[in-house]
Amino acid sequence: MSSVAGSSEDTFPKLLLRNAKKFADRPAMREKDLGIWQTWTWADVLDEVRCLSIGLSGLGIKKGDKVAIVGDNRPRLYWTMCALQALGAIPLPVYQDSVAKEMGFVLKHAGVSAAVVENQEQVDKMLEIGESFKGIKTIIYDDSRGLSKYKVKGLHSFESVQDTGRDALKKSGAEADWLAGIEKGSGSDTAIFLYTSGTTGEPKGVVMTMESMIWVAQAANGFDNLTEKETVVAYLPMAWVGDHVFSYAQSYEAGYCVCCPESPETVVADRREMGTTYLFAPPRVYENIITQTMVSMEDASDLKKKMFHYFLDVAKETGEKILDGESVSLKDQLLYKLGEFMVYGPLKNRYGFSNVRVGYTAGEAIGPEIFKFYRSLGINLKQLYGQTEAGVYITNQPDAEIYADTVGKPLDGIEVKIADSGEVMFRSPGVFKEYYKNAKATKETKTKDGWVHSGDAGLFDDRGHLKIIDRAKDVGKLNDGTMFPPKYIENKLKFFPNIKEVVAFGDKRDFVTCFINIDLVAVGSWAERNNVSYASYQELAANPDVYKMIEENVDAVNLELAGEELVAGAQIKRFLILHKELDPDDGEITRTAKVRRSTINERYDVLIKALFDEEISNQHIKTEMTFEDGRKGIVEGDVEIRSMKLHTPSSHVQGHMREAAE
């Protein structure tokens, strides 16, 4: 692996200058505007970034300043990153759907002096934050709609900043000065602050240097042979490390094209039009696509339904083998070809996956069924394991070495070891520098010799692949000593389309119980087909027939658990369906949809108590919830608790248990 420090392009602005020469006429960015795809070549991007950067400098932004970037994936917001880096300022992307209070914490912590935001909604949030935090001097907005009447000092439109830059460029020497500034930048400069979503406590600001980000981008592009010919659609939050690496770092390194969707609702249609070749999505996205497909297939004619299911069975048999280059009988090959023509091709086209060379899923465990579904259609979907602190990548599944239960092998140049405690640790040139203004957390996470604690419990299997069990500190024990890995159990349940979210309890308890959130799309469609009327999530969740369906799912998971030696005793004994959806606005899950256990323990204390009290079968609960516009309200109601009949552990385990009992 080449070293970044030695190369002449050790910062992103330098990579941009290189790309503007090397790939001058190749598309760097596309965005759909007024229904038509607009394209910027690398040379165009350099021009946009240059004007912006000099304009920003004119507004007083200088080396070391932190600037928040808030909005959906927009070309201008990506350009802002590079424009800031060219000045030595530090971009700080923030989750665009967070409420002002949450955002305020991050902005204050980082001490930002300016913000570049997408629209009026975000400007309003900045002004609200500005009431208590005086640091923000400048706000720049992309979309002027609704802002014409705002008379606020320091509020500028994106165009006006670029225009100032363009004017300044007319002066001789302006461009040379700007280029000289970039030349002075080095790989050890801070590239970006990425705040972790923080499943525990307040978010932490992960500081990444230029060389670590570029190293990661090189490693990942090398691993999958990505070149300037790739096309990706940028649709995941810009504040998430995955998007930053995929849509920015790797794109600048390889020179490939990043497309911004028209609106968050049009992503699938936009992906279809652009024919993305490299794809990155959390399991949730893949799950949703399957749920929607299955739901709409329910409404299809019998003939179509039969054909669909017949060819899916064919794909299940042979699809993965063909993808992995194994030999398959001629008949199966022909059948699969026919299936490709009749079902798989149109399906992939519908999803916008026709051109996908490599697709990744990460962030959470993906259901083996879901994973195999895509692979059997001929989509090279792989898993990776990563963290913000690693600049995403720790392990990836190499082509043709795909096992649903592992996350693959360490990338070249990344060392991974399992600590005595069972925790996964990693070290590479791509790891983070520190947590901003949090030396204590840095010291706890990163050892002196560069090893980083991942916080996940895992093990290597005999094929050399890493297997992640759970968050190390979440793995608990039942009172009888049985291991209780909550996420492992939750994921098994979440793989059912009717179930969206699960929280399992059992550490230091006598048995395992759980909260369940139903999936409103899947269950709603079921309700429609079965003439079940409902007015709200709460009403649907309490429906006895819904309970019955979920009970069957829980039973199926219990049966599965009964067959696994380690966790046979951790079957779910009691469960309930929550009266409201877990929501990041209420702090119950993170913006990337990870459960915050401590918050849930606090908010639903009554329900948890009731779950473990076998006398209670119905519990009243009152919960405060936040609406989308930030107002608060109360939901209350009775929640039913169901008890399950547990399965006897299967024969092999049974013998073991008996021995223990004697």
Binding site: G35, R145, G146, S148, K149, E262, S263
Partner: protein, 262 residues
């Protein structure tokens, strides 16, 4: 133009208007005005004559008595499409869209009156007709972007939920680039979130394009928040006229809405 109407000037004036259907007097001697650039609400209990009032304004019904002055010109009986060419667009209480057509086609329909190339050019979709179509499409795309319905472009409107159909209907009216926009119960049957969206759009249409808006609405919260002036009708007669605050403290209005003990 010589008689340019500036914001704040009277755009439309109704004077002593009466409308009856046979023996039923829908409107009795009502007079009020709509000023350019304002949001004017027409409220009243069921059967007060609100929709008839809109029908009179856009030329669908012709009053037996009284005069209507639009942009300073006294109006004669006319067909609704003439009103449309003069810059009056409307939406309906019960959504009136082409259900089998896509969102895009429905909104394009709003441009029909602005298409000038003759039938033969359009038949071959060539030359000027094509250029014209592109021009109109761009206008329509701006409306689509404005109302945030890009994801619905190709969806037949019959498949859309009610709240979104209302939004498409507003889009079609906006595609006409109207000077005066008549909205007949734009929030009816909507949930809170949809109402908030619709309110935001109405305010933005008014604020960004300076479009004058006259709306009928039952949700008093919406009326009080959105409108500059309110006219109250009851049994076809004008009961009150003024700012939301004036109207809501008017005893006659309170009695009409809540009923009076006899």
């Amino acid at each position: 133009m010589s008689n340019e109407i500036m914001p704040g000037d009277v755009l439309l004036e109704l004077d002593d208007v009466s409308l009856s259907f046979g023996g039923v007097k829908a409107i009795r001697n009502v007079g009020f005005d709509i000023k350019k650039g304002e949001v004017r609400a027409i409220i009243g209990p069921n059967g007060a004559g609100k929709t008839s009032m809109l029908n009179v304004i856009n030329g669908f019904c012709h009053p037996q008595e009284g005069t209507i002055t639009y942009k300073g010109v006294k109006r004669h009986d006319m067909k609704p499409y003439v009103a449309a060419t003069q810059g009056i667009a409307r939406t309906f209480q019960n959504v009136a869209l082409f259900r089998g057509m896509s969102t895009l086609d429905n909104i394009m329909a709003g441009r029909t009156l602005k298409m000038h190339k003759n039938f033969f050019w359009q038949l071959f979709y060539y030359g000027p007709a094509r250029a014209e179509e592109m021009e109109h499409r761009e206008k329509v795309e701006q409306v689509i972007d404005f109302l945030e319905i890009a994801h619905l472009r190709r969806t037949p409107v019959g498949q859309l939920p009610y709240g979104l159909q209302k939004r498409v209907e507003l889009a079609r009216a906006l595609a006409m680039e109207p000077e005066l926009l008549l909205l007949d119960e734009p929030m009816a049957g909507m949930n809170l979130e949809e109402k908030e969206d619709m309110s935001r759009f109405i305010l933005e249409v008014n604020g960004e394009f300076g479009t004058t808006i006259a709306l009928i609405e039952h949700d008093m919260g919406v009326v009080m928040d959105l409108s500059d002036r309110v006219v109250v009708l009851n049994y076809g007669a004008k009961l009150a006229d003024g700012t939301p605050a004036e109207v809501s403290s008017n005893q006659d209005v309170i009695d009409a809405y809540l009923g009076v003990a006899h």
